[in-house]
Assembly symmetry: none
Homo-oligomer: 114 residues x 2
DNA sequence: TATATTTGCTTGCAATATTTAGCAAACCGA
DNA sequence: TCGGTTTGCTAAATATTGCAAGCAAATATA
């Protein structure tokens, strides 16, 4: 994924969190988070990814792979799909683009009732 | 491990390789390898570790852990019960209603084009 | 309306990963 | 002995991560 900034933004918004909320929980500056989401960061450190993975509830491996780090080779298929495994199980593989749209739609769902 | 420089040097010497041989195979400068082995580098990048792990025949995970990166949790249990779609793994718990909407939206996405 | 707070963002800045260039000592064949 | 090569190393330069500070627009509150 070349521009994973949108992906991180979608994750945060799906949780309805502000940059400063994530800043507090992850101990990562909102400034840096902003740059990350706007595509100005190439490869955030594994430590940063680990913190974000816990807050957003996604797997650390998935984020590592997303930003282009080598990933431990074990069950290549299952690993790369670890986050989408259940949906894939029912409706087939989900592309990165589709995944992003789904996350954005989830955010929409959660906000429309307010 | 605070001084893993010695560890990297031991790995290389165990294989009877020179800095420049490793440089060629890993595409990492001999200068940097020298600094790495003398403890002047704090955290070599995952990509560099991956290359070295292949040349030295040790596991990528081991090197990642050695230099202090967060390690991937493996004992995580798969939360998706049979038939139950679980994006929860990614974005936290989602309700049955949300799940249904996401699936419908996915279908919409896939039929939308052309 | 006016003031205060929130929110996303940009701008320098420090730290550090990694490279290029090159040095000095050891090694090696003629 | 001697010119060439190998080997490990250092210094300077470049690139990127991540932060502190602060700004502008939106939003909340009086």
């Amino acid at each position: 994924m070349q521009n994973y900034g949108d992906y991180f933004r979608a994750l945060r918004e799906a949780k309805n969190m502000t940059l400063r909320e994530v800043e507090k929980q992850a101990d990562v500056s909102n400034a840096y988070l902003s740059q990350l989401e706007s595509g100005k960061v190439k490869q955030p450190s594994p430590l940063t990814l680990h913190k974000l993975s816990e807050i957003y509830g996604v797997s650390y491996d998935l984020l590592m792979e997303k930003v282009g780090y080598p990933v431990t080779e074990r069950k290549e298929k299952v690993k790369s799909e670890s986050g989408k495994i259940s949906i894939a199980y029912r409706v087939g593989d989900i592309s990165d683009d589709e995944e992003l749209e789904l996350l954005n739609y989830l955010k929409f769902i959660r906000n429309r009732k307010k």
